[in-house]
């Protein structure tokens, strides 16, 4: 079951949503098999970092502008923002441990 701590961002609200704090965004699509593998890890991170980190998903089929703006040309891609600035780009699959290390650097 997807965590209710994971927000859904769209092209319309993306800019506003990443403006404050540390935000991890998972770019995905329904047809992307590896995205389904990273989804439970993203859910767990949302639960464990609740209050310290905002975690969100962007469906690239419904929101083509945002991936193109950040030159996302492969999914899954995770982008980490701090106060609106892009800090980290993680392309493809990573273990939860490794992702936690990347997040911790920016908290």
């Amino acid at each position: 079951m997807a965590s209710d701590k994971v927000k859904v961002f769209t092209d319309a609200n993306f800019g506003d949503e990443v403006k404050n704090g540390v935000v991890l965004v998972d770019f995905w699509a329904t047809w992307c098999a590896p995205c389904r593998r990273i989804a439970p890890i993203v859910d767990q991170l949302a639960e464990e970092y609740n209050g310290k980190l905002t975690v969100a998903k962007v469906d690239i089929d419904e929101n083509p502008m945002t991936p193109s703006k950040f030159m996302v040309r492969g999914i899954p891609t995770l982008l980490l923002f701090k106060n609106g600035e892009l800090q980290e780009t993680v392309v493809g699959l990573e273990s939860k441990d490794r992702l936690a290390q990347i997040i911790d650097k920016h908290l």
Binding site: A33, R37, M71, V72, R73, G74, L93, K96
Partner: protein
């Protein structure tokens, strides 16, 4: 604190899941640790037409879903997680997942193989920016754009055929003048109108790192060394695989190419550690052979645990 299991299986492709099926049916209550590439390479394929029992083919992710459900049905415990280190110097073996330790009397390694990169450095830097090893994942981003596929085997042909439905033009770049791919795949690719071939060419550079995206490939002719440039928006690499054996370096015997050495069925150089699937097979590399060797590893592990697996026994493994 550590959790003890009779059998631990690392990897969740056809080899790992078949080993889980057989060991759970043997009541060994196996724990399978799936790894970050859960489901293995088949999760990235589309229609699998050569797995016996499916005359109309079966989608790779569906096949893996069924295998997983079947193993779980018989009581296999499947856990998400990526093994960070192992200690095979004594029994029980130690298997660490992040900060949690597991111990096992027998270990089945089915960690498979992962797509190879070009070793240019720049290809990894532009990963997710136009360089990909997975057409079904990333082809979407190249609708109406020209792309290239590097390689001459089945993987490369499958990628080219998939991409031909999205991209304007697919150029296959191959180091030789003949394909290694199976006849069926070759015929399909060669007869697709928007797939073209550049023979005897290798990729020596990918541009443009400064723009942070792929704009062109620099190619070298393998016969005369002449360089040329091909403008593309994406490049898909299908040049083969590397075994996932880094965890076992210095602990298990390996071939020069990094694949695990096995003998007398699925046995590795350490008694009680068995290997199955692509991690120990650089020759056949099929879903069905992986599943078959997963079954062998399970039977070997079961016999090892019951004390009936004898060193260098060459007798047939069929008993039932």
């Amino acid at each position: 604190m550590s959790t003890h299991k009779q059998v631990i299986i690392i990897g969740s492709g056809p080899a790992g899941l078949t080993a889980a099926l057989y060991t759970s049916r043997a009541n060994l209550k196996p724990l399978l640790i799936e790894g970050v590439e859960a489901g293995g390479q088949l999760m990235l394929t589309t229609l699998v037409e050569n797995y016996p029992g499916f005359r109309a083919g079966v989608l790779g992710p569906d096949l893996m879903g069924e295998m997983r459900a079947q193993a779980e049905h018989f009581g296999a415990e499947i856990m998400q997680g990526d093994v960070s280190s192992v200690d095979l110097s004594e029994r029980p073996f130690k298997i660490n997942v992040d900060k949690t330790q597991y111990t096992a009397d027998a270990l089945i390694i089915a960690t498979g193989a992962s797509a190879k990169w070009l070793d240019l450095g720049v290809d990894k830097k532009l990963s997710g920016r136009g360089v990909s090893t997975c057409a079904t994942c990333d082809g979407f981003f190249f609708k109406g754009l020209p792309v290239a596929v590097v390689g001459g085997g089945d993987t490369a042909m499958e990628e080219a055929i998939y991409l031909s439905k999205l991209a304007t033009q697919v150029t296959v770049i191959h180091r030789r003048d003949t394909l290694r791919a199976s006849k069926v795949m070759q015929d399909k690719a060669l007869s697709t109108p928007n797939i073209s071939f550049l023979w005897n060419k290798e990729v020596v550079d990918i541009k443009d790192l400064e723009q942070g995206k792929v704009t062109s490939l620099v190619l070298r002719d393998t016969t005369n060394g002449e360089q040329s440039e091909l403008a593309v928006d994406g490049v898909f690499i299908g040049i083969g695989h590397n075994p996932n054996t880094a965890l076992f370096k210095g602990q298990l015997a390996m071939h020069d190419n990094g694949y695990l050495k096995t003998h007398d069925g699925s046995r590795t150089s350490v008694a009680g550690v068995f290997a199955a699937g692509d991690v120990q097979d650089h020759i056949y590399r099929q879903a069905v052979t992986a599943a078959g060797s997963g079954c062998m590893a399970a039977i070997d592990a079961e016999r090892f645990l019951s004390g009936t697996l004898h060193e260098s026994s060459h007798q047939s493994a069929v008993s039932s």
